[in-house]
């Protein structure tokens, strides 16, 4: 198992190196940074001096290595637009995105698993069919439209919940949280629903399909033949066997919740990294874009790694180095 983990960590590093190359390439190929930094009235001498100062006259590999060295320390340079270290700006924005992702992730996971089990067990019931039909809407409607509809219903018409922003936040020094104030919690609800709805329907459909598959297995029949209660068959025998694929998808979805919070954050003007990224794109603020890219890829890789570890916890057949086996 240790060898497996090491192999996966090694693979993850290669992925990160590749993403790093793309991020690095942005500096060089999306416009000339020297052009951007020097104004209209520049001389050739100015350009040469700045190139030397920034190390841009050095070979490509040396530059790439330096970039990686700095990136590994969390140093992505200064934002072109704000003139502050990118790492600081990200750290400031990250709590908002992570809290939003956490809430919608939990919503999607719990809602998806519960509804998935329900629709699988009551396969032919009216309620299950209604849920399945509604979930089709969740899968096929674009998320921004759901966001706009939510704002229209709950903010404009009913006036229950705020339509934008994070509400009041409490600054804990290293983290600013919206969990501790009423307005912060109220502000979380609509964006979390918008962000989590698609994932929830996806998980629900996956759980349902897996459950139906598992419920046809021989060991479920055998459990019935031993007089085990339906409750135990559904939640102990069947659910556990559906978890491996569900965890894979949920892990990947958690990554994409963070990555694609961009749309939700734009609709709700949520002050997170997604909104930061959109603004950075508009101003061609390459250090911010590169740092965002690296951050998201680190998250994806880390989540995938954790998901792989979880398989071992769930499925004993994968713990190959366990003693025993055979007779």
């Amino acid at each position: 198992m240790l060898a497996y983990i090491l192999r996966r960590v090694f693979q993850s590093l290669i992925v990160l190196l590749a993403v790093g190359l793309v991020a690095f390439a942005m500096f060089n190929f999306v416009g000339d940074p020297v052009d951007n930094m020097l104004g209209q009235e520049r001389t050739q001498a100015d350009i040469e001096r700045l190139r030397q100062q920034l190390g841009l006259d050095q070979p490509f590999l040396v530059q790439y290595w330096k970039f990686l060295e700095q990136a590994a320390q969390g140093n992505f340079g200064l934002s072109y637009r704000q003139g502050r270290p990118v790492a600081d700006i990200l750290a400031e924005r990250l709590p908002a995105t992570l809290e939003l992702a956490l809430v919608s992730g939990i919503l999607a996971l719990i809602g998806g698993v519960v509804l998935g089990i329900f629709t699988a067990i009551r396969r032919s019931g009216v309620a299950a069919n209604v849920i399945m039909t509604v979930s089709l809407v969740g899968v096929s409607l674009p998320t921004f439209l759901i966001g706009v509809v939510l704002i229209y219903v709950f903010s404009v018409e009913l006036g229950w919940l705020p339509s934008f922003g994070r509400g009041e936040v409490v600054d804990l020094g290293w983290w600013s949280t919206g969990f501790l104030t009423v307005s912060g919690l109220k502000a979380l609800i609509l964006p979390a629903i918008m962000l989590g709805l698609y994932q929830m329907t996806l998980i629900m459909r996956l759980v349902r399909t897996e459950m139906l598959e598992v419920l046809r297995m021989d060991y479920i029949r055998f459990a019935r033949a031993r007089g085990i209660r339906e409750k135990s068959i559904n939640f102990k025998h069947a659910l556990k066997n559906t978890l491996v694929p569900v965890i894979t998808i949920t892990g990947l979805q958690l990554g994409s919740i963070i990555a694609f919070a961009i749309i939700t954050e734009t609709v709700f003007q949520w002050p997170g990294v997604g909104l930061l990224f959109i603004n950075a794109v508009q101003f061609v603020d390459i250090p911010v874009m590169a740092a965002y890219l690296m951050m998201i890829s680190v998250m994806f890789v880390a989540i995938n790694l954790i998901v792989d570890m979880l398989y071992f916890a769930i499925d004993p057949r994968l713990r190959l180095d366990r003693k025993g086996g055979g007779h």
């Binding site: 055998f222 033949a225 007089g227 085990i228 025998h237 055979g326």
Partner: protein, 330 residues
């Protein structure tokens, strides 16, 4: 005579389909007594497994019991509600499935599956259930049972897994065990061990066993009496020796003649011409009549009575013991 453990009377199982109602089990009756192994043989689709499933109440919808009675030690169980039947399953009747590789939950340890079953049916503490689980594994011949109780199914070989399945079916001490093709998925050498184990448990505990199989060798080895099924009907029922040596029903005779025996050397095996009719296309009379070399007009009109013969019972107008037996067995 004492009350049989299992008594099936005129059992009819029906499956409604778009093309009409099928009868995979049609008017089947038999008894199994304590300590007796009844072999149920027949081709695939003859209704053997369906009979077993009907008894234990695990028919897959839309199949259902249309009429007839199932008595467990004299108590009618065919009309019990789902939960009342569930309480009987595992406690008073156990079932052993065909494929030991798929009948154990891969993510639960053997001990978890055993203790769960024991605590569902018997009023014992977890520690007592664990002791019973170890004893159950021990009884089916799993070495070092206490050490292996926390193993997962994949850590056992196929034969050992079938022993675990048997331990699971028997751990709450049922009176009746339905073994549905318990040896079909196993190696031949392991088959003999499993059959010996079943026979021993049957004798020692006085369990009634319904042994469903299509393997005549297993029947000859294990069963006391044998029921031969054809197209959902009981063709013949009698003591295993009589049925094998002196079949009354032409189908049974054909079946025996097509079974390879070491004592017969390399003689070419006989075949029964044709194949079993599909349930939707049963002939009007005896279902075997289109393939039967003794069939007469009467057979094609009317399925005929089930009559007592010197062996037991046979559903045939012209049981072979009174007609041309010699020709059929050759």
């Amino acid at each position: 005579m004492e009350t049989p453990i299992l008594s099936v009377r005129n059992l009819v199982v029906e499956i409604p389909t778009r093309h009409g109602i099928l009868r995979p089990v049609d008017n089947v009756s038999y008894d199994i007594h304590a300590g007796e192994i009844l072999g149920v043989v027949g081709e695939s689709g003859a209704g053997k497994s369906m009979t077993g499933n009907a008894v234990i109440g695990l028919l897959n919808r839309p199949a259902h019991i249309k009429s007839g009675e199932i008595l467990l030690s004299g108590q009618p169980i065919h009309s019990l509600s789902g939960d009342a039947l569930r309480r009987l399953r595992g406690k008073r009747m156990g079932m052993i499935f065909q494929d030991p590789l798929t009948s154990l939950n891969p993510l639960l340890t053997v001990g978890e599956q055993l203790t769960e079953t024991i605590m569902e049916h018997l009023d014992v503490s977890y520690a007592q259930a664990l002791d019973r689980a170890v004893a159950a594994l021990d009884e089916v011949g799993i070495p070092a049972a206490r050490a292996r109780i926390n193993s997962y199914p994949h850590e056992f070989s196929g034969g050992m897994r079938q022993r675990v399945v048997i331990a699971l079916a028997l751990c709450a001490e049922p009176e009746l065990v339905i073994a549905d093709e318990p040896t079909t998925a196993l190696d031949v050498s392991v088959q003999a061990q499993i059959i010996a184990l079943l026979k021993r448990l049957c004798r020692e505990r006085g369990v009634a066993v319904m042994l469903v199989t299509h393997d005549m060798g297993v029947i000859a080895e294990a069963a006391d009496r044998v029921a031969v099924m054809y197209a959902g009907r009981l063709a013949e029922l009698g003591p295993v020796r009589d049925v094998i040596l002196n079949a009354d029903h032409p189908y049974t005779a054909g079946l025996m003649a097509s079974t390879p025996l070491a004592s017969q050397g390399q003689k070419r095996l006989r075949q029964i011409p044709g194949s079993m009719p599909r349930l939707g296309q049963l002939p009007m009379g005896c279902a075997f009549s289109p393939r039967c070399e003794f069939a007469q007009d009467k057979c094609k009109q009317d399925p005929g009575p089930t009559r007592e013969t010197c062996n037991g019972r046979a559903a045939c107008w012209f049981p072979l013991s009174s007609t041309a037996k010699q020709e059929a067995t050759q």
